[in-house]
Amino acid sequence: MFSTEQTCWFVRKVICWRAAASTAWAVLLLGPITAALVILGRFSLFHPIQTISECLSLLTSASAVFSLILLCGVILMIGFLNLEYYTVIPTIACSKIALLGQLLHPRQLVNSAVHCVMGIVVAWCCAITIGGRYETLGYTCPQSDGDSSSQMCLNEYHLILLLAGAFVGLSYSLLGVIHNMNYISFHTVQQYKYLRFKGALPLVVKCSATQALYSIRNFIVVYFFLGYIPKAWFCKTLNLYLNSSVHPLDSIAGLLDLSLVYHLWISASFLLFTWHITLVLFRIFVTELYSFPVQSSFTEDAHQCLAKVLNEKQPMILKFLALQDLALLSQHSPSRRCQVFSLSQPGGHPHNWNAISKECLSMLTDLTQRLVAYHDTVATNGRAKSLSTGSERKTSSETSVTSGTEDLMSPRPTLLMKTPASVFARSVVGTPRTPLTAPFTPDLDSPFASPALRRLTAPVEQCSPWFGTVQSPHVMRRGPKLWSTSTDSQVNGSPQSSPASVPSPKQEPSKPSLLAQFLQNRKEQVKNFLAKRVLIMYLFNKLPEASSQALFADSQAHIWALEGLSYLVQASFSEDQFGVVQTALPSILSCMLVLQEAVDRHFKLPHASSKPVRSTGSMGDSTHKTLRFALRATLKTAIYRITTTFGDHLNAIQMSAEHRKRLQQFLEYKE
């Protein structure tokens, strides 16, 4: 990120410039948008000529120029915030409490505060441009006690506009978190920036207008109930008076003023529109294709080569752009493919290909391990399941999956406790009903994320023997297990961990002392007590399919890796002169097949294959919600691409019997 000390060359040289360019365009667009605001804000149906002349005179006035400069400052600030807060991997909250945590994160609080202030500034500019009764905060009015001398009164119209700006700015920031507005998705269809912007423009207009409408509606409700607080505060601090002869605005009659609502809506739309435009331009500029050299002739540029760049972990945007470039070069440009397949000049090693394929394969293996680990946490129900490694478990996939899902639907805890062995295994491998959302949520160390909660959600559960026999030793022993699992799976979820490292039977068989048992008992009771409260249940309940989304949050990278690899392998059939790809073909195929199996198994879990509701009319990008489907489709296509190209030649490749069987399915088009 930008704020870290050692900024990468790429961020310095490319991303910052792209951000600057996008902000510059947004600033340039500010002029026409402001003109539109002036016309819309001052428009009067019966005096069209007068409106136009007024608008023209306003646009050339000093105050308009000053507010334009202010607005430029706001856009620059918003552009900076975009650069500072953007991410290519969305953060997915798996429960309501996690979302709350995100909203209350200090970083986010700063963001909200800045947006709030920016909102006030924009609203002030709007007040200036719309003019009329909105223009100043105070005005002279006759004193209330009948005196002829005048005093300064508070102009409530001005105040309400400023407050609306602050409110809309705040809600923009908060909705940004909820809708993952800072997430930048990459398009599957490459287009020029101008055309992409032109295509996005109608959506931006629509979104801004509707969102402004909803925000203003909410604001009016809030102002109706709480409007007297800021009013009194302003009067007190600025030593202004309330004009009692003017109708107060925080009443039904005051808020039913249509022209006021219209002006509020216009200024809110203006605010959101300029900010959304900045955001959209930023997205378009940042996700633009960057062409990395495959091979550089100079050593000082060696760190910019595709192979080097791919292997870097940070910043993520660099890795993503490199993978995108790889996917496109493998598809479209034969000359760059040729460089990938080439051998190093002294030595004759295919360094480029080795580095690229190694990185892609390690990413895919990583994902496979993540999926297997997740599946083990979710699906194994502890029925004397041996502490096997991922590969072993894969072979026994079918039955364990179905039984796992069954238990997810209708948990029968008594069954699980038939043998002590099962209890051990269970605790190590994971609880059946906690989907591995834990590692991805901030609430992993909260006691409420435990299965006890989920059980409560099903009313049938209440009468299950589990609840009656809280004192049973089995249950007592179950307590620590819950804790150990959550910590376990925490390790588990981090990308470095392998599934083999997760099950560690040594730490499990702890003999709980009497005190510990007592404490555990208490804890369980507290948990049960809390679980019965509706609000807490609401907060801590896992959102369905969120864990699946979280698991595949960065899958765009995997999709490109799969595409890049498969296109390169396809091209190697005719273009690879030295046979550098052939050596890697078995590992590529087996890696893809293993991943395919893991993905298939994942999609058999409940909620994994349910389609998310498509949200239209929001600027937030919902691409991350469907990444897992895209990955599944790409994976299948990638394997088919290789099998169709090589056909029966694949029979000459050495691979395990199981993989060969699987591959045969693909060769016969039966997958």
Partner: protein
């Protein structure tokens, strides 16, 4: 230059074309033919009587209910829901006894204004006034679509499997290797205009329907004969209906769809169900799409005299205005370098040649040609047959080029009212390298009274080319063309019964070239 004059004369009625072997088309009588049909598992017959058709149309059910008086609000709400703004205005205008006079007056004025605008728009683009069924029939590649038993047909790109869309809005999938024939039915699957299998995938089938786009996932190993509608993804976009044409990218990653009502062409990422509209001014819609086999270009024709060729790297397009009518059909050579297309109202086939940019230069569009060249003239020609004179030629309904690039099939419209002007399929031999050449091959005819409606080449036939024809009788037949492809290594000769014997060619016109690039 009249190309059809060099063709061998059509068969006498009663004889059907069976196959091409040794450089000539073999024919047989109908009885022989039927015997052959029985033996072939993929030849199908759908008699019109066997299909259960919809007896009523959607709008007519309203008449079955008694008139029920509702309040104005309820009626307005219902009109808004059913007919949108125009419906609401219409409702207000008609119920002028209940609403204030100014309201009914003003809504009547707005309605009249709207109608004026839409009629003006319709006068610019006459196809917009058609009903959606008529529109599909107008722009479909199928001859006389509304009366067709088989409305769409698609071979799987890699295996011997095909999908047939029938008049009763069901789709059947035939696979010679499996005993089950799944039947796909869906609530939204109405008026199927096109079906296409996803390349590099065994199961996905895209269906262009009246209101949406469906993508079925039919597990090839499943034994179910009626996959549930949960197997289908529904892709829809407001304003994008009826969908008349779809095309998968050859790499299987994207799907484009077109509707004559929508000026934007949709590029779908099917897995994530998201779409990118590619909008360009002019044309008034998109009626036909064809993706080049190498994936680099997409032909998109519009209902007016204009078509576009998109390049798929950065999705920019070239505009190609036509002189006479809209681009009716088009097909790409297997290497994607040459586009053949036909224009409505003209009796010729045009060709456009695309040369790629020098490899690796990431410039924008590939440099296109300056003008299209006429490669074949299919104006009407009279043949003397024992049954009397037959006039062949005229406008072209659709084009199909086989995956080896050696046979080009042209479906000629004919005249449905004149008995001596039948719709017929003319097949050309083609060569794309080193230079483009066209040679006559012959006519493909069916049994007596059957008219070809739809044709498609098998994408991966081993021994040459296999043309599948759907006839007006509801029959689907396959006509193999056995030849040795120039592009394929000549190792497996199992297809052709024997090597070609040039001395037995019946007439010398078969070798006479109709068009070569050297001529121009």
């Amino acid at each position: 230059m009249c190309s059809l004059a060099l063709f061998p004369p059509p068969l006498p009625s009663g004889q059907t074309t069976l196959c091409e072997s040794n450089n000539e088309l073999l024919s047989g009588t109908t009885t022989e033919d039927q015997l052959k049909q029985e033996s072939s598992p993929l030849s199908l017959y759908f008699p019109r009587e066997s299909l259960k058709l919809h007896s009523r149309t959607e709008s007519s059910s309203k008449a079955a209910f008694l008139d029920h008086s509702e309040t104005l609000w309820m009626r307005s709400a219902a009109a808004w829901r059913d007919g949108g703004l125009t419906g609401l205005l219409n409702e207000i205008t008609t119920s002028h006894t209940e609403v204030p006079k100014w309201l009914s007056m003003s809504s009547g004025c707005i309605l009249a204004l709207l109608q004026k605008v839409s009629s003006f728009h319709g006068s610019l683009f006459p196809h917009l006034t058609l009903s959606s069924e008529d529109m599909i029939a107008e722009f479909s590649q199928v001859l006389n679509w509304s009366d067709c038993v088989v409305r769409a047909f698609a071979w799987h790109p890699h295996t011997d499997k095909f999908a047939v869309a029938l008049l009763d809005d069901s789709i059947k999938i035939y696979n010679p290797k499996s005993a089950t024939t799944p039947t796909l039915k869906h609530r939204l699957q109405r008026s199927v205009a096109a079906v296409q299998w996803k390349p590099l995938c065994a199961s996905a089938l895209a269906v262009a329907c009246q209101n949406c786009l469906l993508v079925w996932h039919v597990d090839p190993c499943s034994l179910s004969t009626r996959p549930s509608s949960g197997c289908a993804q529904v892709l829809s976009h407001p304003g994008h209906s009826p969908v008349t044409s779809i095309a998968w990218s050859p790499s299987g990653s994207l799907l484009v769809s077109a509707s004559p009502m929508d000026t934007a062409m949709m590029v779908w990422d099917v897995a994530s169900e998201s779409c990118v509209p590619l909008q360009r001014v002019g044309g008034g819609g998109v009626s036909f799409l064809s993706w080049s086999p190498d994936g680099s270009h997409v032909l998109a024709s519009t209902p007016s005299a204009l078509f576009r060729v998109w390049e798929t790297r950065m999705w920019t397009c070239e505009r190609w205005p036509c002189v006479k009518g809209r681009c009716q059909s088009g097909c790409w050579s297997p290497d994607g370098s040459r586009l053949l297309f036909t224009v409505q109202g003209e009796m010729v086939i045009y060709a456009l040649t695309f040369t790629d940019t020098p490899a690796g230069v990431p410039t924008s569009t590939s440099q296109g040609p300056q003008a299209a060249a006429v490669v074949a003239d299919l104006s009407e020609t009279t043949f003397n047959t024992p049954d009397g004179d037959i006039i062949v030629g005229g406008e072209i309904q659709s084009l199909a080029w086989d995956s080896t690039g050696e046979r080009l099939a042209v479906l000629l419209k004919g005249d449905p009212h004149a008995a001596d002007r039948p719709a017929i399929i003319a097949v050309f031999k083609t060569r794309t390298s080193p230079i483009f050449e066209l040679l006559p091959c012959g006519f493909v005819q069916g049994e007596r009274g059957a008219e070809p409606r739809l044709m498609q080449f098998h994408p991966s036939f081993q021994h040459g080319a296999l043309l599948t024809v759907c006839w007006s009788s509801g029959r689907i037949t396959h006509v193999p063309f056995y030849f040795l492809s120039a592009g394929v290594p000549h190792c497996g000769l199992s297809g052709s019964p024997s090597l070609p014997r040039p001395q037995t060619v019946p007439a010398d016109f078969a070798n006479q070239s109709l068009f070569t690039e050297l001529m121009s």
